[in-house]
Symmetry: C2
Subunit: 349 residues, 2 copies
């Protein structure tokens, strides 16, 4: 009999099924609120994080990225791909998993699926930003692009910002039908629209989340009235934008990490020195958010490693005492750390 791996060798692993079980047990709206708080707390201590631009491996059909960060105590990274053509082949455009490790020992402390978790953290980040930027008392959101991220966005804005009505639009009508059906039992008033223009009616928050890997104009300038908050999610890689440049010129622009957003976000359409405000500065009181009811605020979101780090730390803490993880024998841990070969030999006895 091979010896059992020691406790140190085990890394808690949260599978997709276990992630869904965990979120259902806690309740998705509470999870979204908790994630928003966790991300906000980490944005407040932004300056102490080790911030590296993501490490991307591009091919003709997509990209595979590693997004590492560290707060000096924990280290985390996410693996994430982006392959827009996958959908046609019955595959996900984006899949992801992530890891947390202890900086002091380098030992992994959590491995987790992050396809579902990324959808949750992206929605929570959007709504957390809107909490600082959207017009006070906003109740109506236009949701342009009704793909895999859309329901999560709608629920996050309900739970975190108090949105009660979502106006859905997608160029693919079946996506709107599906999004609407999925949201039915979640206490939102749902209005399915047949044009982007129609979706704008009365909207105080506009979320754009489409998936084409190209410069598209999901919103034209005339569609955007004064005083709204735009939450632009879909422009998230070089050559992929959603908003007409004129909208950007009328907006106060907030970003996660300028070196990354200038390459990947809506602002790749603007001059390199176009003024933007970093969201963490608003959250920590170093910069102003919305200052005026007539202002158009734009959160040009591309996703950042710290949001994943916050989400992974939340999961590590949430799984304790639950059945929603299994233990992986992922790290060799011989009794005598210099005797790796001895451990190997004894495994054959």
């Amino acid at each position: 009999m091979p010896p059992s791996p020691s406790e140190l060798a085990y890394v808690p692993f949260v599978s997709v099924e276990n992630m869904m079980g965990l979120v259902h047990q806690i309740g998705i709206e509470k999870v979204l609120c908790d994630l928003a708080d966790a991300i906000e707390a980490d944005f407040k201590r932004w300056e102490l994080f080790d911030k590296t631009p993501r490490v991307a491996s591009h091919s003709a059909v997509g990209v595979i990225e590693l997004m590492p960060t560290s707060d000096g105590e924990m280290y985390g990274f996410k693996y994430v791909n982006g392959h827009p053509k996958n959908t046609k082949e019955g595959l996900q455009t984006v899949t992801a998993f992530g890891l947390l490790a202890d900086v002091d020992t380098g030992y992994p402390k959590l491995l987790s699926e992050m396809t579902v978790l990324t959808a949750l953290r992206t929605a929570a980040s959007s709504a957390m930003a809107a909490r600082h930027l959207a017009p006070k008392g906003a109740r109506i959101m236009a949701m342009i692009g009704n793909g895999a991220q859309s329901e999560f966005q709608c629920l996050a804005f309900k739970a975190i910002c108090g949105i009660d009505t979502v106006r859905l639009y997608d160029i693919d009508r079946s996506a709107t039908v599906r999004c609407s059906a999925n949201l039915k039992r979640h206490g939102l008033t749902i209005v399915s629209c047949t044009s982007g223009q129609e979706a704008m009616e009365g909207a105080e928050i506009i979320t754009t989340c489409t998936a084409d890997k190209q410069n598209a104009t999901i919103l034209t300038d005339n569609m955007v009235g004064i005083g709204v908050h735009i939450n632009a999610i879909g422009g998230d890689c070089p050559g992929k934008t959603e908003l007409h440049r004129d909208i950007l010129l009328r907006s106060e622009i907030f970003v996660e990490y300028p070196p990354q957003t200038r390459i990947e976000g809506e602002i790749q359409q603007l001059a390199d020195d176009h003024p933007v405000t970093e969201l963490w500065e608003v959250i920590s009181g170093k910069a102003k958010g919305r200052t005026d009811a007539k202002q158009i605020t734009l959160f040009d979101s591309v996703g950042f490693a710290i949001e994943d780090f916050s989400a992974l730390r939340y999961v590590l803490s949430a799984i304790k005492g639950t059945p929603w993880f299994s233990n992986l024998d992922m790290v060799a841990d011989p009794d005598d750390p210099r005797d790796l070969f001895g451990m190997f030999e004894r495994a054959n006895q």
Copy 2:
């Protein structure tokens, strides 16, 4: 009942126990030979790989690194830490795991422990290099530093280069005793030595593999005779070297990837433009290896991402049809790829 994840959602996972089981089933010497061949084959097509320097996150006590690469069809990365102080706390200095993914879809194809696998691939890489650089017919190797990597090195040089005698030395006598005991049943003549000088007697190959994170002088100039091959493993991070500079000046130096080795290897002691030969050029016939029986050849090895990539591809192919892996539900794969939320909702039914 939640729906079962589809087959696409499963990623084969090789745990530490399964890795050891796999290697025992195939036989460690055959695995080392197969790995040497796999690494050599990939070094032959070196130019088509995407080569990124490793992404390191340093702290006061160690480093956590991500080492990605791709050949255009598969993408791979390794997570590896280096914490020399871990040994004193009963932990491994180095732990590692790795992943392979399909470039075309971005979907993960293999997750594997790499603590054991890294020990195997490092030993196989060393012996593969020696196959091109060591004196013909070498039979005796000095093994300086008898820590966790030492037995793997000895067996790789036996299986791949025909070494029949190893002369062991470590400043810690108990390490030599352990290494010698571990190798007892593996058909090598083992000579335990009480000094580095004694270990050198008759040695045609000298392997240095010590773990101190500092500039040390494991070999002084007078210890190294003409015609030997030096396999220097332990100098593998900034500020960590093992050989006296004078030895380097007498040697023909071979390296994996100069931009990395100039920072991490023995040659950090030399001028930035000191001539070195890339091992892949020797393997593919573009440069000469050993040209003269009196030459001192030095493989200044720091470990490179392509070696891990080769090892992971070997494991992916070797586990097929064996019980040495389990399937991880690591990637969300809804029936309709746009309906991530629907999959989440149905998991609660």
